[in-house]
C-alpha cells in the first residue's frame, strides 16, 4: 500500500518513541503517506492505522484535525499563501490576489490542468518575510513579489 521507501521513513519515526507508543508516529506517517500519494484516501489512512496498530477512527481524527493534510486530491503543486494580519500588512493579500488572477482560480480550487491548487494559510511563523507562501507543505517561498511569483510558477510548470 505504501512504498518500501515510505515504510522505512515511517519506521525511523516510530523509533523515536517508546516501543509501546507507536501511535506517536501517526502524524509523520500520514505526512509521509501524503507525500507519496498526494492526498489521504480512506484506504491510505486505514493502512496507516493497521501499520501502527491503531483504530482507523483514531487516524481519521488526526487527519481531519491538522490542516496540512489533504483529505481530497489536490493539484501537483499545492500553494498555500499566508494572509494573517502581519502578512496582510505587508502584501499577503495582494500576493494571494495576484495568484488567483494568474491561475484563474479562487481559494480551495485547482487549475483545470491539475497543476496548481491554491489555499489560504494561517501563520507560518515567517511574518518578517511577507508575502510568504508554501509549496506542497515543504518549500517556503519568502518576499513573494509579483515578479517572484511569475518566476516560481514558470519554474514549477517546467
Amino acid at each position: 500500500m505504501l512504498s518500501t521507501e515510505s515504510l522505512e521513513k515511517i519506521d525511523r519515526e516510530i523509533a523515536k518513541y517508546p516501543v509501546e507508543q507507536k501511535q506517536s508516529a501517526v502524524m509523520s506517517a500520514l505526512a509521509i503517506a501524503q507525500t507519496e500519494k498526494g492526498w489521504l484516501a480512506n484506504e491510505t489512512m486505514d493502512f496507516v492505522a493497521e501499520y501502527l496498530g491503531m483504530q482507523p477512527i483514531a487516524v481519521y481524527e488526526v487527519a481531519t484535525f491538522y490542516n496540512m493534510y489533504n483529505l481530497e486530491p489536490v493539484g501537483k503543486y499545492k500553494l498555500t499563501v499566508c494572509t494573517n494580519l502581519p502578512c496582510a500588512l505587508s502584501g499577503g493579500n495582494e500576493a494571494a490576489a495576484y495568484l488567483k488572477q494568474k491561475l484563474g482560480i479562487g481559494f480551495n480550487q485547482t487549475t483545470s490542468d491539475g497543476q496548481f491548487t491554491l489555499q489560504e494559510g494561517e501563520c507560518m511563523g515567517a511574518c518578517g518575510d511577507s508575502p510568504v507562501l508554501l509549496v506542497n507543505n515543504t518549500r517556503m517561498c519568502s518576499f513573494m513579489s509579483n515578479e517572484m511569483i511569475d518566476e516560481m510558477l514558470e519554474e514549477l510548470r517546467k
Binding site: 523515536k16 518513541y17 517508546p18 507508543q21 501511535q23 506517536s24 508516529a25 501517526v26 502524524m27 509523520s28 500520514l30 505526512a31 501502527l52 491503531m54 483514531a58 481524527e61 488526526v62 484535525f65 491538522y66 490542516n67 496540512m68 493534510y69 494572509t83 494573517n84 494580519l85 502581519p86 496582510a88 500588512l89 505587508s90 494559510g121 494561517e122 501563520c123 507560518m124 511563523g125 515567517a126 511574518c127 518578517g128 518575510d129 511577507s130 508554501l134 507543505n137 515543504t138 518549500r139 517556503m140
Partner: protein
C-alpha cells in the same frame, strides 16, 4: 547604531551556510556550559538555583519563571520523566524560534541537555511547527551531529548522564502551541488541551512528569550557565533577566528578528527595525503576538520592552512578536482578520470558544462590510466577557483580548464604520 550584548545570536552569521554546524558552534563557546557542568560536577540543584537567580522567564508567552518551573519536577522519581521543547511557533507575528533553530540549532540542543541534567530526565522531544520543514530537517541533522560527537546518547562525554533528544514535526494546528495540546499531539492524537490540574510536572507526556519550555527559553540557558545567573540578570532588569529576541513585522522598513536586553525602550527597537515605513505615523502596536491587547502608538513609544513595563502599559510581552501598524491601517479590518484566525483555530472542545469565536468573527465581519448595527460593540464586549476565563485553555482569552483592546482604544473607528458603512482611514 548602538551595540547590544547578545546571548542567543552571538556569532551567528545567517549568510554563512556552515555557521550553524557543530564545529562553528563549538568555536563560539558552544557546549562549553555542558562541559563545565560535567567536569566540575555541578549538581542539578545548583543549576536550578542559577536559573532562578537569572530571572529568566518563559519566552513562549506566559513569562513564567523558568527556574521555578524546573523545581516543580519530582525528584527521586522512579521511572521516565520528559522535557519537551515547544517550537510550535504559530502565534501570528512570531518568527524567532525558527531563526534560533535554523541558524543556531546546537544552542537549543545544549540548553535542552542542561535542562535534562538539572531535572534528571533521560529523553526529550522538540515539537517543531509544521510549516517550517527546512528547519525541521536542519534540526534532525543537528541532533545527528550532536549524537555523533557524544553530546547526546548514553554516558554523555564519558559521564554517567544519558539523554536522548528527538524532533517531532507538527502538521498545522495553532492550538498545539498550548502545552497540553502539544503533549496530546506527540501522543498521536488530536491536539486538544487537557484540563489542569494535574499539571504536566506530575502528569505530562505519556502520563509521566514533564516540563515544557519554549525554544528561546532553553536556548537562553547555555549563556547563563557559562557566565552565571547574576550576569544574565544584570543584562536586563530585576525580575526581567537577560536578552530576548523580538520579531518585528508590519509597517517597518526592516522587518526581522532583533535581540536586545530586556527593558530596552520600544523606540530603540523601532529604530533597529529601520523605523516606520515611508516615515508614517505609528498608529498601533501589538507588542507580544496577535493574542495580546493592541496599544495605541503614543503609549507604545513611551514603553520599554520587558514583561513588567508592557504589562504596566496595558498589554503583555507574550512571545515578543511586535506587530507594527501605521496610520493607513483600518483597525476594523485588522481585527476582522485576527477574529477569523481564532475562529479557524479553535479546537472545538469548549463551547464558549467554539461558538464564541465564530460569533466574534461574524460580527466584526459585518461591521467591516458596512452591515454593522449600533448595538454590535456592546455585543462584542459581552461575548468576549463570556469567553474569557471560561475555557480549558488560553485560546479563548487570546480570541477575546484583542477584541476588547481594539474596541477600547479605537472605538471611534468602529463607530464610524457602523454609522457611515465605510472606513474612516
Amino acid at each position: 547604531m548602538k551595540e547590544y550584548p547578545l546571548t542567543l545570536l552571538n556569532g551567528v552569521d545567517s549568510s554563512n551556510p556552515d555557521n550553524w554546524r557543530l564545529r562553528s558552534y563549538e568555536a563560539r563557546e558552544g557546549y562549553a556550559a555542558l562541559k563545565k557542568i560535567l567536569s566540575k560536577r555541578i549538581t542539578p540543584e545548583e543549576i536550578i538555583e542559577e536559573v532562578k537567580k537569572s530571572a529568566l522567564r518563559g519566552r513562549g508567552g506566559a513569562g513564567f519563571p523558568t527556574g521555578l518551573k524546573w523545581s516543580f519536577m519530582p525528584k527521586n522519581y522512579d521511572g521516565d520523566k520528559y522535557i519537551v521543547c515547544n517550537s510550535d511557533e504559530g502565534e501570528p507575528g512570531t518568527f524567532k524560534d525558527r531563526d534560533i533553530m535554523h541558524f543556531n540549532p546546537h544552542l537549543l540542543i545544549e540548553g535542552m541537555i542542561i535542562a535534562a541534567y538539572a531535572m534528571g530526565v533521560k529523553a526529550g522531544y522538540n515539537y517543531i511547527h509544521g510549516e517550517i520543514w527546512a528547519t525541521y530537517e536542519r534540526m534532525e541533522e543537528a541532533v545527528d551531529e550532536a549524537r555523533a560527537a557524544g553530546y547526546l546518547g548514553d554516558n554523555i562525554l564519558g559521564s554517567s548522564f544519558s539523554f536522548n533528544l528527538y524532533n517531532h514535526h507538527g502538521y498545522g494546528a495553532y492550538i498545539c502551541g498550548e502545552e497540553t495540546a502539544l503533549l496530546e499531539s506527540i501522543e498521536g492524537k488530536k491536539g486538544q488541551p487537557r484540563f489542569k490540574p494535574p499539571f504536566p510536572a506530575n502528569y505530562g507526556l505519556y502520563g509521566k512528569p514533564t516540563t515544557i519550555n519554549n525554544t528561546e527559553t532553553f536556548a537562553s540557558v547555555p549563556w547563563l550557565i557559562r557566565n552565571g545567573g547574576e550576569a544574565y540578570l544584570n543584562l536586563g532588569k530585576p525580575n526581567n533577566g537577560g536578552t530576548k529576541i523580538f520579531s518585528v513585522s508590519g509597517h517597518v522598513n526592516k522587518p526581522g528578528n532583533y535581540e536586545i536586553p530586556m527593558g530596552t525602550p520600544f523606540a530603540e527597537l523601532l529604530e533597529l527595525a529601520g523605523g516606520m515605513r515611508g516615515g508614517r505615523k505609528l498608529k498601533g502596536c501589538i507588542p507580544g503576538g496577535s493574542s495580546m491587547p493592541v496599544l495605541p502608538g503614543d503609549i507604545m513609544m513611551e514603553a520599554d520592552m520587558d514583561y513588567d513595563s508592557i504589562a504596566k502599559a496595558g498589554s503583555m510581552l507574550g512571545s515578543g512578536a511586535v506587530i507594527i501598524m501605521d496610520d493607513t491601517t483600518c483597525m476594523v479590518r485588522a481585527l476582522e482578520r485576527l477574529a477569523y484566525f481564532y475562529f479557524e483555530e479553535s479546537c472545538g472542545q469548549c463551547t464558549p470558544c467554539r461558538e464564541g469565536t465564530g460569533w466574534l468573527y461574524r460580527i466584526v465581519n459585518r461591521i467591516e462590510h458596512g452591515k454593522g448595527r449600533p448595538e454590535d460593540l456592546d455585543l462584542l464586549d459581552n461575548i468576549a466577557d463570556n469567553i474569557q476565563g471560561r475555557t480549558i485553555c488560553a485560546l479563548g482569552d487570546a480570541a477575546a483580548m484583542p477584541v476588547r483592546a481594539m474596541i477600547q482604544h479605537f472605538r471611534d473607528e468602529f463607530t464610524y464604520h457602523i454609522e457611515h458603512k465605510k472606513c474612516m482611514v
